[in-house]
């Protein structure tokens, strides 16, 4: 869905996992940009209507980019930079109270 303007040739790369699948992404990129560039058409299902949603504003105010990152649900993927070994999953609906896993 998203295509980088410049190939990350000289950038340091890190490995993150999206829904268990390893991805090589440039260090310093936001999780939302990295996931979208890797090619997916949705990053969460909404809490009420369960429709497929994807990041929108990319600046932390729309809350469309909510994903589960390193065991913590409902994190704004556009506000978090990728980190070596990071585990990213879609946020499926609303979180439960005990969904948070300590890391």
């Amino acid at each position: 869905m998203l295509k980088r303007l410049h190939e990350p040739n000289d950038r340091k790369m890190v490995t993150i996992y999206f829904e268990g699948r390893p991805l090589e992404v440039p260090a310093g990129e936001t999780v939302s940009a990295a996931i979208l560039a890797a090619g997916t058409d949705y990053t969460r299902t909404s809490a009420i209507s369960t429709v497929h949603r994807a990041p929108y504003c990319q600046m932390g105010i729309c809350f469309e980019c909510l994903m589960e990152i390193d065991g913590i649900p409902n994190r704004q993927a556009c506000m978090i930079a990728v980190r070596e070994g990071m585990k990213v999953s879609r946020q499926y609906g609303a979180r439960g109270l005990s969904d948070e896993v300590s890391v």
Partner: protein, 373 residues
Amino acid sequence: MEYADFLVIGGGVIGSAVACGLLRKNHSVTLLDEGGETLNASLANFGLVWVQGKGQGSRRYAEWCHEASELFPEYVQQLQTETGIDLAFRKPGGLVLCHGDAEYQKREKVLERLKNESRFGSYNCSMLGRQEIQQMLPTLTLGPGITGGSYSPHDAYLNPLALLKALHKSFGLGGGNFSSGTAATNIRYEQGRFLVSTQRGEFSAAKIVLAAGNAITRLAAMVGMRVQVHPEQGQLMVTERVRPVLSIPISGIQQTAEGSFIVGLSNRDVGFNTDTDSKLMKQMAMRVVNAFPALASLTIVRSWSSLRVLSEDGLPIYQQSESCPGAYAVTAHSGVTLAPQHQRAIADWIADDVQPDEFESFSTRRFDVEKIA
């Protein structure tokens, strides 16, 4: 110049309910609202239909709230059927949680007083121990500091934004004339008619209803009434959406139909100030976490403050002007809870001069110092 039988100034939950009530009596009604950045309690409240604990020292007010709660389920049904808007109204009763023994005893005294002041010596709200409350909340564990609380079957909650939207829609469907962005700057009473000046021109009406929240004092003075209100700040926070775990409204904590938790209960006298205060947020958050430790991990998404509209004794004011008969003042801080009363009994009073029982309890004459002496 626009003319209507009735002109209601203030399109919040009180003005809108009164306007809808007047429309139902086949009158032409114009509803004016300032719009814009108005300090609008109707859009920033907790959404409670609350009876327990209210009316200490005023039996009539306690009953007024109870009557409203009894009317509410059918009132919601009617509004939903007419507008197609879901108000997310649920009436499982409501809880007030007590942290520690001192709070428990204080709450117990409040209920005792209300019971003694009640007409039949009964008051349908009881103290519950910690175990009993925990049994009512099987999916949420109480924190160790909760000693018990009070429960009343009369309490309920709804989505206050949906309520206001439904009232506005009902008003439109009923043929009412709604003008937003229209602040009333002056009111004249001439030859038995009211002339209201606004930025959008002049409006005239046989009768006017002032329901302008904290702006009512200035307007009331123009038609010979002394309606003294002052703002009291309340601050709230809302969390990320969570799967349903709490289906009973608690004073200071509730989970909306969409899954967010709205939390907070505060009252500060800071004038016309709706700034949020992070120290206060922290205090309120700690209280929530002490009540339900499992909520500690939730992210706060938004916080806001709004201003309650309080009369000198905190009770509603329903008053007709003596020097300008046909001008009415309607103000209360429980605009959500009292919506059925405002749409029915109060509209009946304004349109047909049918007064509810013991209506003097809500008159401004109760503030006349000379009379008390």
